[in-house]
């Protein structure tokens, strides 16, 4: 364990610095995220994972004993659990846990103004357009660079309402009374191998508390950036919306394209207390050498509503199945999912709805597009246990295959007990309608333009649920991906 930076030259690499674009949203266009600056890391836990790595992270963060114990226990669970390759892709076996760097940070305390953020990190986020967006329409922003947040700020008006928005280290230190109660409760350490890994080495992420009745008008945003090669990012997010509260959270992410693979394994827990509403929007656009293995789950109490809006465009392999445990009567859960898999990518996404109270309802709508040799997979689980009544689930998955060698899979699992519930699942796989393309070509569009229009039409009803800036950008990206995909 060393606290040096001899591996990285402190000088920034010469880059053809393009002018930061006027693009309001960073990170949707893959090319926009593909750059890196050399950064001098003050804290480095070295390569590989063992007890000392965990101790190093815990010491650097000056954590309470219970958190250190939590991490050590998690490490044991992680080691004991096998890779889930009996159902998941064998590509997981290509992750070499001994070659990953588990903790890299330049400082421990996030800055409250962009001026204070070190230049080499600041220019990364400026290039991604984060400060600009913050001024425009966000209530709060956290920007994580490798293991730690470099910047974190929430607008005064929101802070005055009692909203807490900080990273995991700060939150567990300053507000254990609020966060400890739910930390690791929605997603237990032993949920799966990667949630255990995250629990052992987590760093960064957002902890949010919205007090009773507070409705946060503008979205809170977190931006995750991987800069270093062979790095693993393990952020931990916990959002608690107290009774009647409402909040929208957006996250974006990018990484430069390295020749070696990078691991991102987050745990995101949401707790919506009685009547609360949480909307969680993700636009995932990791470089396509990133293993993105994320566990996301929400707990919805009585009459609460949790909605995951999930868009996966980047990464080499994404495995992510946002879930909602519908714990209180009339709770509602929803997953809206868009996945785009291009050459060399496998988007293995889906949803999990666990009904645990009467009259709960859930809705899953998933649309995937496979381009070139891309592979999109939907995996779902719907569970309605004994003695419940009036539960409803609706699941729709549609897959679009663009090229002859594109691939798609659907693997839902539905369990229903009792005769007082209603569940329906539908899935379809198709290609773009030739007549539609012909019609558009006949009106003067090229085949590529027609294809883009058709694909945009396919996801249009879902794209509209994204914030405007995202959906506009999504359309632009699809145009880009469709270029050269036909003929």
């Amino acid at each position: 364990m060393k606290k040096t930076s001899d591996l990285d030259s402190p000088a920034a690499v010469e880059l053809d610095e393009p002018v930061p674009t006027a693009n309001p949203v960073a990170g949707i266009d893959q090319t926009r995220g593909d750059f890196k600056y050399d950064v001098a890391y003050e804290f480095d836990a070295g390569t590989g994972l063992n007890e000392r790595t965990v101790d190093y992270i815990s010491s650097v963060k000056k954590e309470a004993a219970w958190i250190r114990d939590f991490r050590h226990h998690a490490l044991k669970v992680f080691r004991a659990k096998p890779m889930p390759t009996h159902w998941a892709t064998r590509d997981l076996e290509n992750i070499d846990f001994d070659k990953i760097r588990y903790y890299l940070a330049q400082g421990q305390k996030p800055k409250r103004t962009w001026e204070e953020v070190p230049d080499d990190i600041k220019k990364t986020f400026e290039r991604l357009g984060i400060p600009e967006q913050e001024r425009k329409y966000l209530a709060g922003v956290e920007a994580q660079f490798d293991s730690e947040a470099a910047y974190s700020n929430v607008k005064d008006i929101v802070a005055k309402q009692g909203v807490i928005f900080m990273n995991s280290t700060e939150a567990l230190r300053e507000h254990p009374d609020i966060f400890r109660k739910w930390f690791g409760k929605v997603i237990p350490t032993s949920d799966n191998k990667f949630s255990a890994l995250n629990s052992a080495v987590f760093s960064g992420g957002s902890f949010i508390y919205v007090p009773k009745g507070v409705k946060v008008a503008q979205p809170l945003q977190a931006y995750f950036r991987i800069n270093a090669e062979n790095f693993g990012q393990f952020e931990r997010t916990l959002i608690i919306a107290d009774e009647g509260a409402e909040v929208t959270y957006m996250e974006g992410c990018t990484a430069p394209k390295f020749s070696t693979s990078t691991l991102h394994s987050a745990v995101v827990e949401l707790v919506a207390l009685k009547g609360a509403k949480i909307q969680y929007i993700t636009v995932q656009n990791w470089a396509n050498n990133v293993f993105n293995l994320v566990t996301k789950r929400g707990l919805a109490h009585e009459e609460a509503e949790i909605k995951w809006i999930d868009c996966n465009i980047g990464s080499r392999l994404t495995m992510k199945y946002p879930g909602v445990v519908l714990k209180g009567r009339k709770a509602r859960g929803e997953v809206i999912s868009i996945a785009l898999a291009n050459d060399g990518q496998h988007q293995d996404t889906g949803a999990k709805m666990i009904h645990a109270a009467d009259e709960t309802s859930s809705n899953v709508v998933s649309k995937s597009i496979s381009v070139g040799q891309g592979r999109a997979t939907y995996r779902g689980q719907i569970h309605i246990p004994r003695r419940l009544k009036g539960c409803k689930n609706n699941t729709e998955c549609d897959a679009l295959l663009i090229n002859t060698n594109s691939r798609t899979d659907t693997y839902p699992a539905i369990t229903v007990r009792g005769d007082r519930n209603y569940v329906q699942h539908e899935a379809s796989v198709s290609k773009v309608n030739e007549e539609m393309i012909f019609y558009m070509q006949q009106r003067g569009l090229t085949e590529g333009q027609a294809m883009s229009l058709a694909v945009n039409g396919f996801i249009n009803d879902l794209a509209r649920q994204f914030p405007m800036e995202y959906s506009v950008e999504l359309k632009r990206l699809i145009d880009l991906e469709m270029e050269g995909s036909v003929g």
């Binding site: 899979d409 005769d419 007082r420 519930n421 209603y422 329906q424 899935a427 379809s428 796989v429």
Partner: protein, 441 residues
Amino acid sequence: MSASTLPSSRSATAGAFTAEAFQAHLASLPAGLPAWWIERKRAAYERFASAPMPVRTDEAWRFSNLSGLTLDGFAPPPSVTATPQASIGIRKSARLVFANGRLFSREILDPHLEARGVIVDTLQQALLRHPELVREHLLAQPSRLGSAKFSALHEAFLVDGAFIHVPRGVEVELPIGIFTYASGTGAAVFPHTLIVAGENSRVTVVDYFGSTNEQEVQLAVGANDLYASHGAQLTYVGKQDWSHQALSFQSNSTVVRRDARVQSLNLHLGARQARHESLSQLQAPGAFSEMLALTVAHDDQEFDQRTLQIHQAPNTKSDLLYKNALLERSRTIFSGLIIVDPDAQKTDAYQSNRNLMLSDDAEANSLPGLEIQANDVRCTHGATTSRIDPEQEFYLQSRGIDKSAADELLTFGFFEDVLNRLSSDELHVALRNLIQTKFKR
């Protein structure tokens, strides 16, 4: 699907089917069977004995009740001198009756059948007289749905079964009936039906499985091979009505060649726990496989159905509809997969599972899957689980039909759209009666 690697520490479980029991079985077979067949049985026994029992993490056994899978306490049953003369109310062109694994009676009812070259005989006879045909088709398809161990057990201990061959261009008007009975507590039976439908032939086969007593603990490990040559039309109806204490494994395999059509309908009524695997391979353009199933699950029964539709050639079609009605504390599992190979463009595949919940204690599991590697396809699947539609119930009640009668009508209506797919009215009525009998007992 990628097979999971099995740690060697898993102990193989043979239950009552020890190496000694296998030797005794070989010794009991008549002399003169082809050497290749005996060799295959030996190899099958080795596969069976070395394969582990399914464990919780096997994806192919997800949701299955594994504690109920025991192979202990069974033995090859003695031959019997009488069987119930089950009548299922249809006219037949021929009838084979098997009891405890051996032929009990064989009747050719249509005098022209043999003159036209149709063979309705036992597997043992076919092994002697038509070894090439048997060798080409008997258990020749891969076991891909999880029961490789039980398929190997079937092959190792198979005594006798039915063999049907319809030559090129021959159309058999009336169905051929096969009746298979298990008798006595602890009886283990291994029924097999092999059907080879020659080019442009047409035939319907009704396969009935039952026990002489409702309460005897029995084991049935059955399989069938359906082969439809170019342009053939094969209809297969299986009715599983084993004893209420039986453990049943059945692996069905269908191969459909160019422009051929196979329709199979399996009716599941009996057994304590029944696993049914059905594989359809569409091997040439124009092939069509229609896979239908009806299940009435009551008491503590578990019906575990696994299906695989593989489209291996362009312009093929498959259509699957599995309907389950669940009463009392019963459980059902439907796990279906459609695989479209990379070159199988213009595939039209459909898969649907409908579960009708008639009890608050029943449990329905549905895993409708797709694996598509060609883009010019039309593949859809659907699964629903619900109770009787209250609006339909209300409509009937408003016409003066009381609630219980309305529910019964709607439940039979639930099955009717599967039965309607059968082209034979006689068969349709016979199956409807059989379902209603189970419903009312």
